[in-house]
Amino acid sequence: MSALGHFIEEEGIATVAIALIRPQAERTRPPRALWVPFELGRPLGPPSDPEFQRRVILAALWLLERKDGPVLLVDFPDDDPREAADHSWHSPRTGGARGDLAAALEAEIAELAPAYRQSCAERGRTTVGLTSLTPTEAASYVAAWLRGPPPSASPVAELSPVLCLRFAVDDLKAYALEAAIAGGAKPSSKQLGDWLWNDSAIGAAVRALRVQLMASDDERAKLIGTMFMVPGVRAAS
């Protein structure tokens, strides 16, 4: 991100970077940066908190008025209030991981459908859609990999079978996590991740798929299993 700032500034446009990893901004030295203490993935901080987000973006934009650079690296003082757990939130009630993981995965996708639809209506959007598959189709495709042997054809013309698998898994995670925020509670990312990776059939299925892919003779499948299925902090648990 900081590198982009250098290149764009060199072309004559003033930039201000939001920085999530302070040592990186210290070493890359973009002209103006606001370090924020929020978790990776949340440069503006808490979702559904316009006032807080406004303070962050203003803190960044006001650096454009300063005359005392380069280099400016300023710290945003406040933590993301959404890092705290919301104990009024309840994880989705599904059958969870059981027996045949491929079947449990497909069952859970169906069980989550009402909550997913509710969540989409509440937010007016979904982030599911990296493949053109419906969640049911994506689950069937992932289940086919779990059941083996690996499908030789991709259900999406422009994606190879293994790349389609990666994006289908991304879509299923998004589907499950969006279903889990239906109802207006404000769970932390940790609460959501604990449910997905420890209690859901989707999480268990993706963990199993990771192990399966890592044992593959196909180098691309092995790489995708190692790097792009289960987050590093979750893979160790």
Binding site: A3, T15, Q24, R29, L44, R125
Partner: protein, 152 residues
């Protein structure tokens, strides 16, 4: 991110991530904030629904027209090691367009760009240079004179 709250080994990894070495830092001045036209450049691997997702460490960019609706924006970043639930709940966490439009309506900034841009931040910085310079050219054509760089 507060590295002091992470396990030591993980904090060390982030603290020592390989970074490009820029010998100099340019500094472009401009008008007061109230006269600035502002664009977002994200490194979240954002794509408009239906467009080709980023694959691998691709160093090109995607165009996000200013009238793109929240339902049309997806995240195809290669890394799975950052939170996506914030973006899933509210796109402003990563792509603060609503906040910029509010600031423009209030006169805090002059206006919001007609087009915004996204890169996939895990690409090699040196390989992004040509794309970044092309984006800068497009931003200048849109009379943008301030860019907010939003990472994940």
């Amino acid at each position: 991110m507060r590295l002091d709250r992470l396990p030591a080994a993980q904090a060390e990894r982030y603290a020592t991530l390989e970074c490009p070495d820029f010998q100099t830092t340019l500094w472009v001045e401009g008008p007061p904030l109230r006269d600035r036209r502002v664009a977002i450049v994200s490194s979240a691997g954002l794509v408009v629904r239906g467009e080709r997702p980023f694959r691998g460490r691709e160093a090109d960019f995607r165009v996000i027209p200013g009238d793109t609706r929240p339902d049309q924006l997806l995240c195809s970043h290669i890394s799975i090691n950052f939170d996506r639930t914030g973006f899933q709940e509210d796109w402003n966490v990563v792509y603060p367009l609503d906040r910029l439009n509010e600031l423009a309506a209030e006169g805090v900034i002059s206006s919001v760009a007609a087009t915004h841009y996204s890169f996939m931040g895990a690409a090699e910085p040196a390989q992004m240079e040509a794309s970044a310079r092309e984006v800068a050219g497009r931003l200048k054509s849109d009379k943008v004179d301030a860019v907010i760089l939003s990472p994940v």
